[in-house]
């Protein structure tokens, strides 16, 4: 994305846009042709949503504070975490897709063509972010269907919520792409990306962090999912956001930059 192209090439930006767009269409074609992968990844968050709401809902609602909290309060509590978890699950698909790509000869072909070098990765990243958004919308629809309602969120708050979800998708996607690049095959990529869907289990997604054991609380509170979930919760439901919004932003930017550097370094290293 940086050095490989001749600096004076005038069409560089348009080349980057055009080739990345081609790669994006290729990835979306894969997703459309083989939807089972994407849908499988959606199963976990939807299952957990239904499980926690209908099976554990009555018990769990007792834990979210305030007397008289019932199942519908718990739906409201759990949905922001489930949406973030959906993103964590969807990006596993990106890790697998990248790893699969790298084991195929087609990447070698791309490398020997006069195309923008970064377009392969950009195509994966943009494709994954779009899939994340589609997944979030799907899971969100399920949540609405079982009774989730946003209380008095303004248009601006909706916009911010959307932006947060997109940014979080981007950050986790770059990390997942890095994991895919570092994995020798699709299975390994799928395994190494598992933490992205498991991490929400030890966040404030299902129960408030302050109900966790004291020694564990800092881990739960400061891992990337909790501040993002708390911020989303605040935007959609009007709960206290506090300093969570900027911690979430720092995490997003940090993870995105880290994942980007990691991915591009591995991509370029492949040509030593």
């Amino acid at each position: 994305m940086s050095a490989p192209l001749a600096p004076a090439r005038p069409t560089r930006i348009s080349l980057a846009v055009r080739d990345s767009n081609t790669m994006l269409r290729r990835n979306l074609l894969h997703a459309r042709r083989y939807p089972s992968m994407t849908l499988n990844l959606l199963l976990t968050p939807i299952m957990l949503l239904l499980l926690f709401v209908y099976i554990f809902g009555d018990v769990m609602s007792a834990g979210i504070g305030g007397g008289g909290a019932d199942r519908s309060d718990y739906i409201a509590y759990i949905v922001p975490g489930i949406l973030m978890m959906t993103i964590g699950g969807t990006v596993i698909g990106a890790a697998v897709a990248v790893a699969t790509d790298m084991t195929e000869g087609i990447i070698a072909r791309f490398r020997t063509m006069a195309i923008h070098r970064g377009s392969v990765l950009i195509g994966h990243v943009v494709g994954s972010v779009l899939q994340c958004i589609a997944s979030v919308v799907l899971v969100g629809a399920v949540a609405v269907a079982i009774g989730f309602r946003s209380t008095d969120a303004t248009a601006l708050e909706w916009l911010a919520a959307f932006g947060l979800l997109a940014l979080f998708s981007l950050a986790l996607t770059w990390i997942a792409v890095g994991m895919g690049m570092a994995s020798p095959n699709a299975e390994a990529a799928s395994n190494s990306a598992q933490p992205l869907i498991l991490l929400p289990l030890i966040s404030s997604a299902f129960i408030p962090a302050d109900t966790m054991p004291g020694w564990f609380r800092p881990i739960a509170e400061y891992q990337p999912f909790t501040p993002a979930i708390e911020t989303l919760r605040g935007l959609l439901l009007g709960t206290e956001i506090g300093n969570n919004w900027w911690i979430a932003l720092v995490w997003c930017v940090g993870l995105a930059v880290l994942g980007y550097r990691w991915s591009t370094a591995s991509f370029n290293r492949a040509s030593q």
Binding site: P4, L5, A6, R9, R18, D19, T22, R25, R26, L29, H30, R33, Y34, E104, G105, I106, A108, R109, F110, R111, T112, M113, A114, I115, S271, Q272
Partner: protein
């Protein structure tokens, strides 16, 4: 060792040519060197491929053929060497090199998840052809490579030969002037191999320069204008197939026996022969001409020897190959009657 020096001579002549007429060379490499850790893969090789010709890099597995292709096709950077492809400096302007070349590797570079047609259109998009132009190219090439029926099926369902044809078709979307073919027929059945040869010949007739690596000597013999034998990271010999064949001792007649006693008595009677006690076979030097054959047959009749099998072996690239790559423990004559038109045969002996 003195032989190797002599063999290098044609290369040296060519390399002198490189400096004077490099503009007419599709590929020019001087002192190409590449090492992975302390393993030297290419030890300063020189290559010169005139435009519009087929150049074959021949060598056993692990000789460095694929590394050479990877470097010349900008996939991997060389450690040292003055390298030009299509007139562009590989180190300074790889993107211009990429615009001039097409590569079909050993492992087919098709996207198995999408259809053959979609693969072609993907290539058209990456070559920045207009939509209509891209469609036209795709249809034309799918037709030319007999892939129309399979065009709407995922490439992962294709047979080995179809995948390879799709691979080449994809390479041709961009109309490359120089094409690298890295072992294009490895793993193909004889029919698919012959069809691939036809494709390569067609490319050349269109004026394309081809850099072909192969481990099949017959393939190089069939297709290449010039052949370089790569062994242990060095060019062991370079020249036309005829030139290379001239470098090694000539052919022979081979007599094979099934009865050890008959073999023993024949070996005693025909003193001037090379014995192969294990195979119960004898070799008599011969150039394979009718006159010489008749003389040998007369001689055998006179000595009362009747072999169970008689084969005439003319020197071919197999001999060159084994001589140059030092694989002396491999028998350098096939067990079956020599059939120069059968593509499978050298393969078996090489492997």
């Amino acid at each position: 060792m003195h032989r190797e020096t002599a063999l290098n001579a044609p290369c040296r002549n060519l390399c002198g040519m490189t400096t004077t007429t490099s503009h007419s060379l599709a590929i020019a490499a001087k002192g190409l060197r590449k090492a992975y850790g302390d393993k030297t893969v290419l030890d300063g090789i020189d290559l010169a491929v005139p435009s519009g010709t087929v150049f074959s890099l021949l060598g056993p597995n692990g000789a460095g053929k694929t590394t050479a292709v990877k470097i010349l096709s900008t996939l991997v950077t060389a450690d040292a060497g003055e390298l030009h492809v299509g007139g562009y400096d590989l180190a300074a302007d790889p993107q211009s090199v990429r615009a001039a070349i097409g590569v079909t590797g050993q492992f087919s570079a098709v996207d198995g998840l999408i259809t053959g047609e979609e693969n072609m259109l993907l290539m058209a998009d990456l070559h920045h052809l207009s939509r209509s132009e891209g469609r036209r190219r795709a249809v034309e090439l799918l037709e030319r490579f007999d892939l129309v029926e399979a065009a709407k099926k995922p490439a992962s369902t294709y047979s080995g030969g179809m995948r390879r044809r799709l691979d080449i078709a994809m390479t041709l979307v961009g109309n490359p002037r120089i094409i690298f073919l890295d072992e294009p027929t490895t793993g193909l059945d004889p029919r698919a191999r012959h069809s691939m040869w036809g494709i390569i010949r067609e490319l050349v007739s269109d004026g394309v320069s081809v850099f072909l690596t192969t481990q099949y000597l017959e393939e190089a013999d069939e297709l290449a204008d010039r052949i370089a034998v790569l062994n242990d990271g060095k060019i062991a010999a370079e020249g036309t197939a005829e030139e290379l064949k001239r470098l090694i001792p000539g052919g022979h007649v081979r007599l094979r026996f099934t009865d050890p006693a008959a073999y023993q008595s024949a070996a005693v009677a025909l003193r001037e022969v090379t014995r192969d006690d294990e195979a119960l076979a004898l070799q008599i030097p011969s150039d394979g001409s009718q006159r010489e054959l008749r003389a040998i047959l007369d001689w055998l009749d006179a000595a009362g020897i009747e072999a169970d099998e008689l084969t005439v072996h003319t020197p071919d690239l197999d001999d060159v190959f084994f001589t140059l790559t030092g694989n002396s423990n491999v028998p350098n004559q096939p067990n079956q009657p020599n059939q120069p038109n059968q593509p499978n045969q050298p393969k078996e002996t090489v492997r």
